[in-house]
């Protein structure tokens, strides 16, 4: 039941009600609301129960193993939350002068420096407030770079079909045409097709490495050479940075621009469309175009740098300096890990993924790229199970929920049929991984003996199998009050 449906006129939580009403006489009458806002009128206890119950329906990293491939659902250490919520951070007004926020600016500056070092880039801006915004900023910088050189013929961005799904969208958002490059059967970019595709129209290439098929492209240096020789730039999508953190640096691979998803690799909370952070790092030639504001160090002081000092900047992406609470959590996380700890992140995330893949292969499941070592994630394909048992990847995924596991990513990437993209992350124990393998084996046995049980799953969740076709065809996005809402 929605909280609106529990509403009764006049019922209220007296202790929570505001003590006075704001004065609105300075707002023109034409801009004032005639009828009161439709808010639920409930008691304090009703509100507490409603939201506590909702929170208990959550399937979250705090309650369950969450191997959602390409999303890096690792544990979010509580220390990061606690420290990011220190009163000095929480109570600071974003328009306060730099002199009143030296602690915050020091943290942001150090975060910029740590991200620079771990990615091998020349400079970093923390401004983008989500991965998608980071991608937008990165491609906008590529565009600004070519424009600054009066090279207007570069209209194409190359995107391998194993790239992260948002890449072509970001390219188009920045006015480019996205051109797809196929992946070879071994999971690496098809070099011959790449050579054929590059030319004076090439603005750049957007690569995810390791890619969404869960393997590290071994030809990355050659790819960088081909694209650079054609006059294009290389964009690194940081979606899978967790696999290489502290081990290999995108800057050393030849990338000119990178975005990082702090909510993935640097363990800030994500999901539900909540705040993200997508800092961008660049090579020296792209530095003038970085989004503002940036934090710089002047002697012992830190200060914001704005567009006045960076006339070539692509500009601002948000009103202030990005998602502070998220940046601070990432800062604490990075400080707790240190340089050695970052290496251990990638070592254990790839170890866990390879352990899981090896056990699933031994149990008779089909890896999509069996001859390749997994990165921090890998794909199994349920093509055989779908054909022989009539139970597909989605059915397996739904049944996993009944076993107490969040489903892996399903049907992505699109180039592998009936796929599950599995990313265990470094924060799971071996016992948890073993239980997950046992669950998949048990579900396959159910698919043999009682396929309807699997096809009807989940059976134990607050909501059963959703009709996603009807949901997409008949959009129903708003709750409407029967009386007051028009």
């Amino acid at each position: 039941m929605l909280i609106q449906e529990q509403s009764r006129p006049g019922r209220r939580a007296a202790a929570q009600a505001p003590l006075y009403s704001a004065e609105v006489s300075d707002i023109p009458v034409s801009a004032r609301r005639a009828a009161p806002l439709v808010l639920p009128e409930v008691s304090e206890l009703q509100a507490v129960r409603h939201y506590t119950r909702l929170s208990q329906k959550n399937f979250s990293i705090d309650t369950h193993f969450y191997p959602l491939g390409s999303c890096t659902m690792k544990y979010n250490p509580r220390a990061c939350n606690t420290l990011a919520m220190l009163p000095g951070f929480l109570a600071r007004h974003p328009a306060a002068p730099d002199s009143h926020g030296q602690g915050l600016l020091a943290c942001l500056f150090e975060l910029q420096e740590m991200l620079k070092e771990v990615t091998g880039m020349h400079a970093v801006s923390l401004a983008p407030s989500a991965g998608a915004q980071g991608e937008f900023a990165g491609v906008a910088m590529i565009r600004a770079y070519h424009r600054a050189r009066n090279d207007s013929a570069r209209t194409e961005i190359l995107v391998p079909d194993a790239a992260h799904g948002t890449n072509p969208a970001s390219a188009v958002m920045c006015g480019f045409v996205a051109r797809e490059i196929p992946t070879g059967s071994n999971g690496d970019v098809d070099i011959a097709a790449l050579r054929e595709a590059v030319g004076p129209q090439t603005a750049g290439i957007m690569l995810t490495n390791p890619s969404t098929v869960g393997v590290f492209d071994r030809n990355i240096v050659e790819i960088a050479g081909i694209v650079h020789a054609a006059g294009g730039l290389l964009y690194y999508d940081g979606a899978n940075l967790n696999a290489i953190l502290g081990k290999v640096r995108p800057g050393d691979m030849g990338f000119d621009v990178i975005h990082m998803n702090l909510h993935k690799t640097f363990s800030t909370p994500h999901g539900g469309g909540g705040p993200g952070a997508g800092p961008v790092g660049v090579s020296k030639r792209l530095e003038p175009f970085l989004p503002v504001p940036l934090v710089v160090q002047d002697g012992d002081d830190y200060r914001w740098v704005s567009e006045h000092e960076r006339p070539q900047s692509i500009g601002r992406l948000t009103a202030f300096g990005g998602n502070m609470g998220i940046l601070l959590r990432a800062y604490v996380y990075a400080r707790m890990l240190g340089r050695e700890g970052m290496k251990r992140v990638s070592e254990f995330s790839t170890l866990n993924a390879n352990y899981l893949m090896t056990r699933l292969k031994a149990a008779g499941f089909d890896a999509a790229y069996p001859q390749r070592r997994a990165s921090h994630e890998f794909i199994i394909t349920m093509k055989r199970e779908a054909r022989d048992l009539g139970v597909n990847a989605m059915d397996f995924a739904k049944r996993l929920l009944d076993y107490g596991f969040h489903a892996p990513t399903t049907y992505f990437p699109l180039l592998v049929p009936e796929c599950l993209l599995i990313e265990p992350t470094e924060t799971e124990t071996k016992e948890e991984l073993d239980d997950f393998v046992a669950a998949l084996i048990a579900i396959r046995e159910e698919a043999r003996t009682n396929p309807e049980l699997v096809k009807g799953a989940p059976h134990t969740m607050p909501v059963r199998r959703l009709d996603d076709v009807r949901a997409a065809r008949q959009l129903d996005l708003a709750w409407r009050s029967s009386a007051n809402c028009t």
């Binding site: 049907y411 699109l414 049929p417 996603d468 076709v469 997409a472 065809r473």
Partner: protein, 130 residues
């Protein structure tokens, strides 16, 4: 097993085209394509009057799994689109080669159809994918 019709021409990207006697041709996606995509929930058709080159992305088919560009197998001018898909995109699932057609072209070069796959050639593409 996906159906392949003998009287149509095909592309490797799973479009079909039916050439009519009057210089027009109708385009849709194959039975294999609709099966791979799953339940179709939205179709964006091209504008009537648009000039297209062979290989241009000129429609989008969205299913519960993915949104996919549809590439025109032949160059020409779009003369008609299947308006019924706006409210009933599932026609593509129900009848990929019939009521689920997407658009009709006035073909620029009728000879170009010989460069497309015939039914046997398309069947070979499908066999290679399995």
């Amino acid at each position: 097993m996906s159906a392949v019709h003998a009287d149509l021409h095909y592309t490797k990207t799973h479009e079909w085209v039916k050439v009519h006697g009057d210089g027009t041709a109708t385009v849709g996606i194959t039975d294999h394509a609709q099966e791979a995509l799953g339940d179709i929930v939205f179709v964006e058709t091209p504008e009537v009057g648009r000039q297209v080159d062979a290989g241009d992305g000129c429609a989008v088919v969205e299913s519960v799994k993915a949104a996919s560009d549809i590439y025109t197998p032949l160059a020409g001018e779009v003369v008609e689109v299947n308006a019924a898909l706006a409210d009933t995109p599932e026609l593509i699932n129900q009848s990929a080669y019939g009521d689920g057609w997407i658009f009709t072209l006035r073909v620029a070069d009728p000879g170009a159809v010989s460069g497309l796959l015939d039914a046997a050639g398309y069947q070979a593409v499908l066999d290679a994918e399995v």
